[in-house]
């Protein structure tokens, strides 16, 4: 039965996180000095606190020590965290998403026994996933077969071990992860294999990528004759374990960014006086805020639907999504509309909307980053267009 009410548990976790964000995370995150200096150093004290609240292990199964939350709950949490600090939200979402599959599905019992306890007990234990570079050429390959993903990292069996070489270009959480799952092409094998490599392993180095381009933390991971024992291979190899790949958490973070901008603008519009009236009482400001409210409200519905469908793939009947790739639908909608909303909200602030010691410009910048993240909305639209036309990529 169609029902839009969240469960009591979902409402509780949302309210708990919202409270934490309002009181602990946001006040630190939007400190003027930090914003002015473009300082993206992870807010460790608050991220640790979030970990203690279970947000680092949110999606890990309960029986493995996590909260076993579904994608919808994770989206709600990411939105709330991002209202305070999108970077913290991104770091936690990545670890939580990777943990779910890595510990829940990909690892053998022996591997789990070896890595899980430390992961559970250490609030600073974060995870990263260095995926094989996707064939990011949809534009030119629209309605044509495209090349298979190419592994920029290779592995070679050598006396019971594997020797890994190559570079993974942009890996979320890599600079702070204690364990990195890396996809590599094993010499002579079919398909992609995934290895787990603890931070500090000789031959693996991580270069942090410049701030401001990504949410959270991003690094380039380089392997140079990095020797790892065979028991760090996941499964039998050649299987290409899907560790994350969803853009839903980024969408939820984007929504949180928009909400932060909107809430700030509404508060301001209710007290700032112009022409002897609060500015919200002027039609143009009221209209802009109403339009932003609509964008947020509709974006949230869309993300929630995509999240719920990822939790309930059995419901993917034609009545639910018209056969559309709903995550791509949501990606385009959220990215475009939140970007617009942050700009409109900033306009309510006059000159303060562009000052680096005020949060508005950062909301716009973060929303712009979401708009231009990954393959961008133009490609996402082509993905949808191919689905509409019934085009099926060979090998996909």
């Amino acid at each position: 039965m169609y029902n839009l009410q969240l469960s009591a548990e979902q409402v509780e976790i949302r309210d708990t996180v919202r409270d934490f964000v309002t009181k602990e995370l946001k006040p630190v995150a939007i400190k003027s000095a930090r914003m002015e200096a473009l300082d993206h150093t992870p807010l460790w004290a608050q991220i640790d606190q979030a970990s203690q609240m279970g947000l680092r292990t949110l999606r890990l199964a309960e029986e493995l020590g996590g909260s076993g939350a579904d994608a919808l709950t994770a989206a709600i949490v990411s939105e709330e965290l991002a209202v305070g600090d999108p970077d913290a939200a991104a770091i936690l979402a990545e670890t939580s998403a990777v943990a779910r599959v890595l510990f829940g599905k990909a690892m053998s019992k022996a591997q789990r026994d070896k890595y899980l306890p430390a992961f559970i007990s250490d609030d600073r234990y974060h995870l990263a996933h260095a995926a094989a570079a996707p064939a990011n050429e949809l534009g030119i390959n629209y309605h044509r077969a495209s090349a298979a993903p190419t592994a920029t990292v290779t592995a070679k069996a050598s006396g019971g071990d594997f020797i890994i070489n190559g570079t993974a270009a942009a890996v979320a959480n890599a600079p702070l992860a204690k364990l990195i799952a890396v996809e590599a092409q094993v010499d002579g094998a079919k398909g992609i294999s995934t290895f787990i490599v603890p931070a500090g392993t000789k031959g693996m180095s991580v270069k942090e990528l410049p701030l401001g381009r990504y949410m959270g933390s991003m690094g380039e991971v380089t392997f140079k004759d990095c020797r790892i024992p065979a028991d760090q291979l996941l499964g039998k190899g050649g299987e290409g374990v899907m560790l994350n790949g969803s853009t839903l958490s980024l969408q939820a973070i984007n929504l949180g960014i928009g909400r932060a901008a909107y809430e700030t603008a509404v508060d301001y519009a209710k007290i700032r006086v112009q022409g002897a009236k609060n500015i919200i009482e002027h039609q143009p400001i009221g209209t802009k805020l109403a339009e932003s409210a609509i964008r947020l409200e509709v974006a949230r519905n869309t993300i929630w639907k995509a999240a719920w469908l990822s939790d309930h793939p059995e419901a993917l009947t034609d009545d639910m999504s018209s056969g559309l790739p709903i995550e791509a639908v949501s990606q385009v909608f959220v990215a475009e509309h939140i970007h617009r909303a942050t700009k409109d909200c900033a306009e309510c602030f006059g000159a303060m909307g562009v000052m680096r010691d005020m949060p508005l410009w950062k909301y716009i910048r973060d929303a712009r980053m979401c708009l231009h993240s990954g393959a961008g909305v133009s490609d996402a639209k082509l993905v949808i267009a191919e689905a509409i036309s019934g085009f099926r990529r060979e090998g996909a």
Binding site: N136, A276, M369, A375
Partner: protein, 394 residues
């Protein structure tokens, strides 16, 4: 109808183009990257531009300036802004207020203010009107005595004592001479109680520079607080009538006729930059072994960028010509509003063209987007739109 520039206009255009390419563009991204708000400024750029006449180009010839016409002004602004929008504005800000000096000052004042301005390559001008509270009220004054600026001026013999603060003042941290709008009668509506004082920074006790604002775009261009703490100004520094500032109608919209056009011409410059660079990218960058320009969606983006930019160019030049003809109307305001829309759309499309999967964020495109967003607060916000519309609906 004639859309050609004359020889003198073309000469200025070429001079600006060369200076922009050789001096401004090579330093644009480097200055933009500097984190410290004041540190972005570079006197060498100002001095070099000043020697070529870009600081003083609007000063009447009788005072040693070049007295270039509005069309030339628009063309030069656009050329400079094509290399760096904020650097262009740092120069044109001086034009605005040298316009005001030559149009509204007494001959004695002109002599007194223009002499140092002409002789010092680092002599930069500014105007203080906006305050932290109620900025838009200055542009669209409500029927309310409590509205509008609060920096106060009280007469004391031949002197006036000023107290209060101005905020976001362009060239505030680097200027040597400022026009300051001061509420000299708090008991009447703003339009009847404001006086413009000319503040020579070095000769005014009690006048100081406050915080330098740290903007997300237009970083080279400085905005700062101006602080008056019992600042003492002689009455000979009053511009026009006491309480007459808001009644002055030199130009159409701003304090002078150049104001609105300036922003539109500046936007035209960075739009040109965006279009040219995007076309170059599309013709050289490949995806899957094929040039970007082969993709129809890229073609559509380029089309839209060029279309909007050429419409803006046409409108800017027409408005500049109307200024030269002393035709009054709403075009200066409208083209300014329009440049906001066009500038943001074109730069965002440029970022989009750059935004190929797997490619890092383009620093240049990102800068242009950030620069263009400044327009939302200068040229294209609803207050500016309403201001123009109310004229049309009178």
């Amino acid at each position: 109808m004639d859309f050609k520039l004359n020889e003198e206009q073309t000469a200025w255009q070429m001079k600006a183009r060369k200076f922009a390419a050789e001096v401004l563009r090579p330093r644009s991204l480097e200055r933009d990257r500097i984190t410290d708000a004041f540190g972005t400024w570079d006197w060498d750029i100002i001095k070099a531009g000043s020697k070529l006449g870009f600081r003083t180009s609007c000063v009447p010839k009788k005072f040693g300036g070049h007295e270039i016409d509005f069309v030339t002004q628009a063309v030069v602004m656009a050329e400079l802004a094509k290399a760096d929008s904020a650097m262009s504005k740092a120069f044109s800000q001086c034009w605005k207020w040298s316009h005001l000096i030559s149009q509204a000052c007494t001959p004695e004042q002109q002599e007194r203010y223009l002499k140092p301005f002409m002789s010092d390559d680092t002599y930069v001008l500014g105007m203080g009107s906006t305050e932290h509270i109620g900025g838009s009220d200055n542009r669209l004054p409500p029927e309310n005595i409590k509205s509008g600026m609060r920096l106060s001026g009280v007469q004391d013999g031949d002197y006036w004592i000023l107290n209060g603060e101005k905020a976001f003042i362009a060239n505030g941290s680097v200027g040597k001479l400022f026009f300051l709008n001061v509420r000299t009668d708090p008991n009447v509506m703003m339009r009847d109680g404001v006086t413009t004082f000319v503040i020579e920074k070095d000769k005014t006790p009690g006048f100081s520079i406050g915080k330098v604002f740290n903007k997300s775009g237009w970083r080279f261009y400085q905005n700062a607080e101006l602080v008056c703490t019992n600042a003492r100004v002689h009455k000979s520094n009053i511009l026009g009538e006491v309480n007459g500032a808001m009644k002055r109608s030199v130009g159409d919209n701003s304090g002078d006729m150049f104001g609105d056009l300036e922003l539109a011409a500046n936007a035209l410059g960075f739009c040109d930059d965006a279009v040219e660079t995007a076309i170059k990218l599309a013709k050289t960058r490949t995806q899957g072994g094929k040039l970007l320009k082969e993709q129809q969606n890229i073609q559509l983006k380029i089309n839209k960028m060029a279309m909007l930019t050429e419409a803006l160019r046409s409108y800017v030049l027409r408005t500049a010509w109307e200024h030269d003809q002393k035709i009054k109307g709403t075009n200066a305001g409208l083209v300014m509003n329009y440049s906001t829309f066009v500038g943001q759309e074109v730069t965002e499309l440029y970022l989009d063209v750059c935004d190929q999967p797997g490619v890092e964020l383009d620093e240049h495109a990102d800068k242009l987007v950030r620069d263009s967003f400044i327009w939302s607060h200068l040229a294209g916000d609803t207050v500016q739109q309403i201001r123009v519309a109310q004229k049309m609906l009178k």
